[in-house]
């Protein structure tokens, strides 16, 4: 019996009816819709009990407190810790810290440069062998750069170098370094501390106090509490750009870039004229020097209206416990003289809010104290161009962040052997012969002592909370191991270093290991200071011959650190005023732009020294005349897709020069040439 067309149609009709009358089509329609809510390629939520642990952020430069939530051994969220002395909220970096554990820029295994210039994975045994060989061969001809100022790793590195007979350990330049030099010169013993909590009038000069300067999360918590129902401290910001601090400050005092020092001296002059003095051997010569900075002269130098100077000084005098914070917008290169003038102004006002924060001091054989290490001038060292035999980088990215990165890159490249201990494959690591993965925040035992800005000695142990990449090793542990293998045993383990530190600070190591932080007591200020007016005077001289267009860098914490680049979560925080598409934006006010024949949207080539940046003009009225604002933290040439190809690196334009007087390398008055493309 053949199947004719007719019976086939009948069969099909019956089948159609039958299927319709069965659950098949209806269940399928429903299940297909359910399938769309459970697509297998969409990641699923972890499930399980939440465990919380307190720690201090090693990623955020503010060293804010964190409470980390973990589920099934994975960190899932970090929230702020209001009980932490430096905490009380999150910075945009701390908020992304958990995600940075799995950043695409992470280094996950040791890498070695091979003949064709690429980096290839090798085993730790091989890597260690190369490292020990090269360090052994280099002898005392070894230098090291660390990007971690607050951890015991810094001291351990100094001890390691001491064992090799070298003292070439440098930290990345920072405001802390400038302040350290100033404080030491003026007679301070430890690290200068600022009692923000106890102040009723905060004048931030150059320091972007609510975004990037010092322990800024704590600064912001103090700011927050000042805005309660009962008005607390006033915040005044003086600087070239209406930045984050200026946006909420009670007053913004526009200052031309680099004129912070003169502004501060002007304030000192008004106070000195009113009979204020400082217990200092050279106060008289200081006062004499100030006579060159009366309001009229300051106005002539910097165009700050005399009346602004007078009223600011009056407000400072009215305040019971004023605090002046002097620093630089970009966080480094501001020089020691500005900080000295800031400190002098604080002292003229009684210095009630200044603190001498004593540090733990060396605990390892041959270790150098932090201020001694900070005394080294990395920019100057690399600028001189005499490369060592071996160069080590520890969580540092000078090839991106140091001024005139081109010189820095040349310096690194001419060094016969260079190795990076790093969590991220940054610009510097990309130049190295050997890249060694170290754990990131939360992944390995680390510690954090008294970050710059805090008012009291502070110490926190950053415990291992989660597993890092299988081959990443905790940095401190690694340094100790390395030193031992090079023949100098520093300490049996990282835990022993921490215990020694705790002992030195008279802190409870057990509590520290449980996540509690230590806050020490305040030491009294030195009875007598030295003001060194000559340094300030010399430095202030250079303000006189300022270039017609000055660089005003803008800091944006959200854009990451030099080592990490832009965290993936933060890429969408970039605003139109910072990047348009992937093009850099140059902020100019209308008058400045018109006087240079520029209009909104014009493409300009901005050059200074050897560096050059192409950017688009964006009219922004919150910037002083004759200044050009550029956002820092962009223009990475390494790391991951979230950092690459976005804008330009402002450090390219930094032209380092020794500060007259203090000798510290500075780049706070960068003159620019702006040409329309």
């Amino acid at each position: 019996m053949g199947i004719d067309r007719r019976s086939f149609i009948k069969f099909a009709a019956g089948a159609g009816l039958g299927v319709t009358a069965s659950p098949l089509p209806w269940k399928m329609i429903d299940d297909v819709a359910i399938w769309t809510q459970n697509w297998p390629w969409i990641p699923s939520n972890p499930k399980g009990e939440s465990v919380w642990a307190a720690t201090t952020s090693k990623y955020c430069p503010s060293a804010c407190g964190l409470k980390v939530r973990m589920v099934n051994g994975q960190a899932v969220r970090a929230i702020g810790d209001a009980d932490h002395p430096l905490g009380g909220g999150l910075s945009p970096l701390a908020a992304a810290e958990i995600q940075m554990l799995n950043s695409p820029a992470r280094v996950k295994r040791p890498l070695r440069r091979i003949a064709d210039g690429r980096l290839e994975p090798i085993s730790w045994e091989e890597a260690e062998k190369i490292l020990l060989d090269k360090l052994g061969a280099a002898g005392p001809q070894v230098a090291c750069v660390s990007g971690d100022e607050t951890g015991s790793s810094l001291g351990a590195l100094s001890a390691l170098l001491a064992g090799r007979g070298s003292n070439q350990l440098y930290v990345m330049p920072s405001d802390a370094q400038a302040a350290g030099r100033a404080w030491r010169l003026m007679g301070g013993k430890g690290q200068v501390g600022y009692d923000l909590e106890g102040s009723d009038f905060v004048l931030a000069v150059g320091a972007n106090v609510l975004e990037s300067w010092g322990t800024f999360i704590r600064n912001r918590r103090v700011f927050s509490s000042s805005r309660g129902e009962v008005p607390g401290a006033s915040f005044v910001y003086a600087g070239p750009v209406q930045n984050q601090s200026a946006a909420v400050a009670d007053q913004w005092i526009p200052l031309r870039p680099g004129s912070e020092l003169v502004f501060l001296l002007g304030l000192c002059a008004v106070l000195a004229q009113q009979g204020r003095s400082v217990e200092a051997g050279d106060f008289l010569s200081f006062r004499d020097m100030l006579s060159g900075y009366d309001p009229q002269q300051v106005n002539a130098l910097t165009e700050i209206p005399a009346q602004v100077l007078q009223s600011t000084a009056a407000a400072l005098i009215r305040a019971e416990r004023p605090l002046i914070l002097a620093g630089s917008e970009c966080g480094y290169g501001g020089g020691a003289a500005t900080v000295m003038a800031g400190l002098a102004l604080n002292l003229l006002l009684g210095g009630k809010t200044l603190r001498d924060v004593l540090l733990s001091g060396p605990v390892l054989p041959g270790e150098k104290a932090r201020p001694d290490i900070q005394a080294g001038d990395l920019a100057a060292y690399m600028g001189k161009g005499a490369s060592p035999q071996a160069l080590l980088f520890y969580s540092a990215n000078p090839a991106y962040a140091l001024p005139s990165p081109k010189t820095v890159r040349e310096f690194i490249q001419t060094t016969p052997f260079k190795a990076a201990f790093t969590s991220f494959l940054d610009e510097t690591a990309s130049l190295c012969d050997l890249v060694l993965p170290i754990t990131f925040s939360l992944e390995g035992l680390d510690d954090l002592e008294s970050p710059y800005g805090c008012a009291k000695p502070f110490y926190s142990v950053c415990r291992k909370l989660v597993d890092g990449p299988a081959e990443a090793r905790p940095g401190l542990e690694l340094i100790l191991d390395l030193s031992a293998k090079l023949g100098k045993k520093l300490a049996p383990s990282a835990q022993d270093v921490i215990k020694a530190k705790a002992k030195a600070l008279r802190a409870n190591a057990t509590a520290l290991n449980q996540g509690k932080v230590f806050e020490g007591s305040v030491a009294s200020l030195p009875g007598r200071f030295t003001l060194l007016p000559e340094i300030m005077r010399k430095a202030a001289e250079s303000v006189k011959n300022a270039a017609p267009t000055l660089l005003a860098p803008l800091s944006r914490t959200a854009l990451g650190t030099a080592q990490s680049g832009i965290p993936p979560f933060n890429a969408k925080l970039i605003r139109a005023g910072e990047l348009e598409g992937n093009g850099m934006q140059a902020l100019l006010n209308r008058t400045t732009a018109y006087s240079r024949g520029l209009q909104d949207g014009d493409l300009v080539r901005i050059s200074a020294g050897q560096g050059e940046i192409v950017a688009r003009v964006r009219i922004f009225e919150g910037i002083v005349p004759d200044a050009l604002g550029l956002t820092m933290g962009l223009g990475h040439t390494a790391l991951d897709a979230f950092s690459l190809g976005k804008g330009a690196n402002v450090a390219d334009l930094f032209t380092p020069a020794p500060e007259e007087g203090s000798g510290l390398t500075v780049w706070n008055r960068v003159g620019l040439t702006v040409v329309k493309v």
Binding site: I29, V32, A33, W35, T36
Partner: protein
């Protein structure tokens, strides 16, 4: 009829007594259309497989070219329901000469719009939620219900025409079916008119209810904002002439007379009359919008426009050049009877409605409502164009086949007596 030697290969399928071009010529015509179709299908595949990220739509313009296109074709496809209404319910007999085309155009417009909607919604596999989990307060629910139902009605209206195909018509069952469907056509025309009026209206209502968008928001009657009624009126004011334009375009392409001038003129008169009513209320609405609605939202008339892309010229075009002008040209018999002016009026009429749908969709969304927000410009990308052209190509194919094999135009034989 004996097969002539020079008759095309598929001559057996042609409508009784009508000649058609050679199959080769027909296929050559279909070739470019198919290429566009394939391009559109590729775009559709991209959208369905990777999501709407491939389009030029964004979070400011959740609605863009596609929705504009949908609204426009649905308005222009209104010729189907309105002609059906006049032909079957009001018994305006001469319209029988164009009703078939009106139905086909309507079917193409609605099925095409639904095709685009499938691409436009992010989760097409959940499209049936519109029925199952319907929110009766949403204008869009009304749209979903009415459009799908009306599309089914259009299919039912199209079936008897398809069954009149010469070979199919030989099968007794199909012939009887076709005949019976014809008998019921007034019923379907009535349902169609009801459904269509409602969703044309609720498409307008969709915009009118958006009280967060001062550009579109209108007050209204009961639950229906004024845009509800304006959309109905504008659709019936343009749909009929669009059908005529399609017929005339087919005449140009085929080189044969398909619809008599008289019929076209009637359609023009109907559309013109309705357009007049529409334009009258549209002016009233615009005045009230400027005088009352906008100031209530704290906004001025000038704030509704920006630069060239969103300039006032669009409004001048919509209301005057493509509104008042075609009104006059279509209503006044002496002007209407001059073919050049008639076609110009028809084109302007349709363009005006497209502009209306465009500004209601795009300008509504482009206008910043928060004072610190900014105007944004929307540019559709190739995916959106390709998918829209997919519908145009699909329409061309459907029309081509319908014309070639179905007795679409009752007057054709008479008008083309050799």
């Amino acid at each position: 009829m004996n097969a002539a030697y020079n008759a095309p290969l598929d001559a057996e399928l042609f409508p009784e007594g009508l000649s058609r071009c050679s199959l080769k010529k027909f296929l050559i015509w279909l070739l470019p259309v198919s290429l566009v179709l394939l391009w559109g299908l590729y775009a559709a595949f991209k959208v369905l497989s990777t999501g709407l990220g491939v389009t030029g739509l964004d979070d400011y313009f959740g609605f863009g070219l596609w929705i504009t296109f949908d609204l426009a074709v649905i308005a222009l496809g209104a010729g189907a329901f309105f002609t059906g209404l006049l032909r079957y319910i009001l018994n305006i007999d001469p319209l029988k000469n164009i009703i078939n085309l009106a139905v086909i155009v309507g079917f193409i417009c609605y099925s095409g719009a639904m095709l685009v909607l499938v691409l436009d919604i992010g989760q097409p596999l959940r499209a049936w939620f519109g029925y199952w989990h319907a929110n009766v307060h949403s204008m869009l629910t009304e749209v979903i219900f009415c459009i799908t139902c009306y599309c089914i009605v259009l299919v039912i209206e199209y079936i008897p025409l398809a069954l009149e195909q010469r070979q199919l018509n030989r099968i007794p069952f199909l012939r009887i079916l076709a005949h019976n469907l014809h008998v019921f056509m007034p019923l379907f025309a009535g349902i169609g008119a009801f459904l269509s009026t409602f969703h044309q209206g609720s498409l307008g209502g969709m915009y009118g209810v958006m009280f967060g968008r001062p550009y579109a928001f209108r007050e209204g009657f009961f639950i229906w904002p004024w845009t509800f009624f304006l959309f109905v009126l504008s659709a019936v004011g343009s749909g009929p002439v669009f059908t005529v334009l399609v017929a005339s375009l087919m005449e140009k392409i085929t080189g044969r007379k398909l619809v008599s001038w008289e019929i076209k003129s009637i359609m023009g008169k109907i559309a013109g009359t309705m357009l007049c009513v529409y334009i009258f209320f549209k002016f009233l609405d615009t005045w009230w919008w400027i005088a009352d609605s906008l100031p209530k939202a704290g906004m001025s008339f000038d704030q509704m426009f920006h630069g060239w892309v969103y300039g006032k010229w669009l409004m001048v075009m919509e209301l005057f050049v493509c509104g008042l002008v075609p009104c006059v040209l279509l209503v006044k018999k002496s002007l209407r009877d001059r073919p050049a002016l008639f076609y110009l009026a028809a084109l302007l009429d349709c363009a005006g409605i497209v502009i209306n749908r465009y500004v209601m969709t795009v300008q509504t969304l482009a206008m910043p409502v928060m004072p610190f927000d900014q105007w944004v410009v929307y540019t559709p990308n190739w995916v959106e164009w390709a998918a829209s052209l997919l519908v145009v190509a699909y329409g061309a194919v459907t029309l081509s086949f319908s014309y070639r094999y179905l007795p679409v135009f009752p007057q054709e034989k008479e008008l083309n007596r050799e």
